[in-house]
Amino acid sequence: MESMGSHREIVDASLAIIPLCPLVGAMVAYIVGQKQKDLAGWIATAASTLAFLFVVKNFFALGTNQVLLDKSFVWLSVGNFSIDFAFQFDHLTAVMCLVVTGIGSLIHLYSVGYMAHDESRPRFFAYLNLFLFSMLLLVLGANLLVLFVGWEGVGLCSYLLIGFWHKNIAFAGAGRKAFVVNRIGDAAFLLAMFLIIMNYGSLDFMALSRVMPGETSEGLATLISVLLFIGATGKSAQIPLFVWLPDAMAGPTPVSALIHAATMVTAGVYLMARLNFLFEMAPLAMLVVCMVAGLTALVAATIALVQNDIKKVLAYSTVSQLGFMFLAAGAGAYWVAIFHLVTHAFFKACLFLGSGSVIHACHHEQDMRHMGGLQRVMPFTAATYWISTLAIAGIFPFAGYFSKHHILSALEHAGAHNPQLFPWGVPLSYIATFAAILTAFYVTRSAAMTFLGSYRGHAHPHESPWQMVVPLVVLAGLALVGGVFLEGALSLQHYLGHAIPVGDVHHGESMASFSFLLNALLHSWPGFLGVGLALFLYTQAKEIPGKIARAFGPFTQVLANKYYVDELYGAIIVRPLEGMARFLWKGADQAVIDGSVNGTAAVVEISGELIRTTSTGQLRHYGFFMFVGTLFIIFFYMAL
């Protein structure tokens, strides 16, 4: 694979200003917020928007075959190992930054309305801005270490925001779980970095893309890739480290939309796209990625089928959709993974914000069994939610159709790209198709249970304020036309081709042609099937879902309990470790180690007492001891 870094023109630019906007914003929002609570949200939103504008400016400044670079300062230099606190802005970064700051700004605006009555909102907005800062470091970093700063930074912000309502110890516990599970992935990430430092002496992306191909054995590339992917399973909630994400829904809903759907959790996908030259050398690792991703997409989708908490449905949906992205990346279609990342950010952020709007309206009710009929009182929320539902279902011409379609065809052709995947590409595409049907089904189910029928709760739902509606409308608009735009007008494949390998670029058939339209509608069949089935079951034949659930009793139980994964981890990892910690303290440390220390002291004391009794002061006693001692020494030497 041809490396992309070698023939690109490097242009100096000041990029540090982009992450600095939200960093300064966080501090100002918090400090000003102590006196003027309402200002905090607007300051944070302004900081985020400013960052967005700087991104747009650089987006237009970035020429074909260019990469913008900002070296800032030497961060760490020991011996011949040196790392700059450097930022780079290429076409991949541009896409990521636009998503992060664009959707980030919308969610900031939304939060102004959503958090309007929360006592601690200055803290909330400070954290939210701090998150943007970290996320921007992650996507702008020109080397793995700066990326890692962002990587851990978003983990911290996630921890702080999940446990935002920390008086509830369960929420605080969910935050801690998120941080610790992420840290497990980070440990693998660290090991990968150590291997890279040991073998290449650099962590710089452009240097590595030049040096790694040709100088790396497949075994080493596989080891590094798998370690990095373990890191990605933590951050991007894949099997086996996905367990923190559903619990992360304890955080305020805008947080779920921004961090736990649109941006942070996609970091692993970005990492793979960024290090494509490394993963290309490790076909076996790519197979692992595909297998894990396929399994995650399917497992999470089945769990989502039976959840009654609207946010839990969306959380498992996110896990599943991230699996789709990794399927594309694992098949070598990095640009497709990024494509789905972007469209997913549109519709999933919209769905989460919509759910937030509903929860807001129903006075913090999250159980869909106590909702229903909200279409009449919340027309904007309902309309935008339905648009996003069709988008995630993958129905043409909504955004999700394009990215999902590309994923399926990338899987079908994966064998040609990577021989290791040859026998697996088609079965994986079947799995993905099945998961796509399930996706359409469970999201439609959530929309139907929330907005159709009659209201089953006791609150007095109302449409949300404009600060919340505007972001919903914008995001729904993107979910509606974003796909067409990215496929057609911008041609994401072509655009990303300046930064990462994208295969053959298809320019060709116009989207206006009849055959294209027909083809597209035909390829939307999984979406139509899932949506249609869910609409039928949850509006026409409402008694059937209950019957199915009862018929498959034990299996439904397993799904409702999320395959008992949390219980399993508790039983085989957490509790044994806790037990061991207690044993090491009470058993090993206090009894054995300290016991022998105190024991030694006691022996010394006792022997001191004994020796004192021999100190009689009588010469003949000492003479006797000397005699015995001499004999002992003689015998000792003779024995040798």
């Binding site: 300062f73 030497v74 961060w75 760490l76 230099s77 020991v78 011996g79 011949n80 190992f81 270490l145 890692f148 700063v149 851990e152 930074g153 911290l156 921890y159 446990g163 920390h166 008086k167 509830n168 110890i169 605080a172 516990g173 935050g175 801690r176 941080f179 610790v180 840290r183 497990i184 980070d186 440990a187 660290l190 090991l191 970095m193 150590f194 291997l195 430092i197 040991m198 470790l577 806790e578 061991m580 910690a581 207690r582 090491l584 303290w585 009470k586 090993a588 440390d589 180690i593 300290d594 220390v597 002291a601």
Partner: protein, 563 residues
């Protein structure tokens, strides 16, 4: 090689720094107005001590100002014969290895003085011992004569003995006796070893006696088996002080019983003395013994990292938890040092500073809680974040520093240590990395149990947030956490040339000259080619039967080489 300092003739900057606290301590008892127990006198005593320790800090800054990082041997040297008959010299100097530890000591002391208002009985005596301790610690760090070092080293024990024994908690007598006896046992081994080295030197140099560190490490000629035994003795003495697993059990007791200031100085500076002893004495004097034991030390260090973290997790007392976290953190420092390459050793030195800052701050925070509630049981707290938000914020920042979050100081140290150690001990380092996860587990669990959840009004309803005085105490530490995490280069630059040269010198002596692997002809350093510590230890082991090893003179400065 050693540049003597000139300042208005010859101004003994280092001597001033070392003995200024001692003079201050004596003045505490000579100045008449300091004897009362009333609030007014207490504040005067505190201000006076603050002035003395502040002045000491300023002198240390003056030293920093005169310090030239590119000189790799002792600087600002003050050297006169002391006990001429035994070749003992009064020999002080500072180099890139000690400069930052000296600054850490002088920096922490005013903070400890500020935090001493919680000492209710005999504040004057307490501050007296603190100043004496500062003198002893600075002397230990600056001594380049082994005998002088030993004197200061033992001298550190007395004030600490009294600080724990008089101002400590309920089991203070048990704790302080354990601390002193344990350390003394190790130190005596070191003393015997030291005499043996000097005796060997005298035997080889026609009866001439010296305790000069440079002289001894340059020209004493010891067989491998001698080196192994002597290193073992020194390693035990210093290992107890670190404390290295399994010699750590004195530490939790000492920490829990010590008053807040005692814990801060113990964690901040005293624990570093063990590793400093390895760096300054054990390794240069017995490089082959060091190479022989390096895998053992690395293994113990990694056990300490994981074990300390797990045991910390199980603790029910906040202070004990932080104490065990020290065992874990010092494990990183030892691992980094024994891995012995530029990356890991620099990281190890850096992490010693970090640990002093973050753990020192954590002990201060525990002290703040203890002053208000008189308990350290984790279960007594909970939900404090809503009651004392500023405290909770400070606690969060130092917790993050302790678990090495990027952009805090802890990350730089931990990253350098692990990245460097991985090159020498990949498997051991992979185990050590689990400490990264476990560190988050125990610290965040502590944070959650104390700061989050519902506030128990009955128990903690009357808690007050940090006072302005306490904020002043924490502010310098807070700033350093971020400065050292975001812009570590100025600190690293101070130590790097010395560390570079040090590693080169010692690793050259780790292998016998004339062994099958010859010095590479292309001018790259030996250590670079020898392929890590394990290989070095193996070589040392193979040369076990070769009785005498030819000494190698201190190599000339050579900065073109990259290690």
């Amino acid at each position: 090689m050693e540049n003597t300092s000139y300042f208005l003739g010859i101004f003994p900057l280092l001597t001033t720094m070392v003995f200024l606290p001692l003079v201050g301590a004596i003045l505490l008892y000579l100045i008449p107005g300091f004897s009362g127990q009333d609030e007014h006198t207490r504040s005067r005593v505190t201000w006076f001590t603050l002035g003395v320790s502040g002045l000491t800090f300023i002198v240390s800054i003056a030293c920093l100002n005169r310090f030239d990082p590119s000189v790799v041997t002792a600087q600002l040297v003050e050297r006169t014969p002391w006990i001429e008959r035994f070749g003992v010299q009064y020999y002080l100097g500072v180099d890139g290895i000690s400069i930052l530890l000296v600054l850490l000591t002088t920096f922490l002391m005013p903070i400890i003085v500020l935090a001493s208002h919680s000492v209710k009985t005999n504040l004057r005596g307490y501050l007296f011992h603190m100043l004496v301790l500062e003198c002893a610690m600075l002397g230990t760090l600056l001594a380049f004569d082994a005998f002088l070092f030993y004197v200061f080293w033992e001298f550190m024990l007395f004030p600490m003995y009294f600080i724990i024994g008089i101002w400590g908690g309920k089991r203070r007598i048990y704790a302080t006796l354990k601390f002193v006896l344990y350390t003394v046992v190790g130190s005596l081994l070191m003393l015997v070893g030291l005499f043996y080295v000097v005796w060997a030197y005298a035997a080889q140099n026609g009866g001439e006696i010296t305790f000069s560190l440079y002289e001894l490490s340059r020209s004493v000629d010891l067989s491998l088996s001698e080196q192994i035994w002597l290193f073992a003795g020194f390693a035990l003495a210093f290992g107890i002080k670190v404390p290295l697993f399994p010699f750590h059990t004195w530490l939790p007791d000492a920490h829990v019983e010590a008053p807040t200031g005692g814990s801060v100085v113990l964690a901040g500076v005293l624990l570093k003395m063990g590793l400093y002893g390895y760096i300054r004495y054990a390794y240069p004097l017995f490089p082959q013994g060091a190479a022989y034991f390096a895998p053992v030390l690395a293994t113990l260090a990694v056990i300490g990292i994981v074990y300390g973290a797990l045991v910390a997790w199980a603790q029910e007392d906040i202070k004990k938890l932080v104490a065990y976290s020290s065992v874990s953190h010092l494990g990183y420092c030892v691992l980094g040092f024994v891995a012995f390459n530029a990356l890991s050793t620099t990281g190890s030195l850096y992490q010693m500073l970090n640990h002093g800052i973050s753990t020192g701050a954590l002990f201060l925070l525990v002290g703040v809680l203890y002053d208000r509630r008189h308990t350290r049981e984790i279960s007594e707290y909970g939900g404090l974040a809503s009651k004392v938000p500023v405290f909770a914020f400070l606690f969060l920042v130092f917790t993050l520093s302790s678990i090495a979050l990027p952009l805090t100081n802890g990350f730089i140290g931990e990253f350098l240590i692990l990245a460097g150690s991985f090159q020498e001990f990949p498997v051991l380092t992979a185990f050590a990395v689990t400490g990264v996860v476990l560190g988050a587990v125990y610290m965040l669990t502590l944070y959650m149990k104390t700061m989050f959840g519902e506030l128990n009004e009955e128990k903690n309803g009357s808690l007050t947030d940090v006072t302005p005085r306490e904020i002043v105490t924490f502010a310098p530490l807070f700033v350093l956490v971020f400065v050292m995490g975001i812009y570590p280069q100025p600190f690293l630059r101070l130590m790097e040339p010395t560390v570079h040269q040090y590693i080169e010198d010692v690793s050259r002596k780790m292998v016998k000259v004339g062994s099958p692997i010859e010095e590479p002809a292309d001018g790259t350093s030996y250590a670079q080619k020898s392929g890590g510590n394990a290989a070095r230890a193996q070589l040392a082991f193979e040369s076990f039967n070769v009785e005498r090893v030819k000494p190698v003179a201190n190599s000339p400065l050579n900065f073109e080489e990259n290690l």
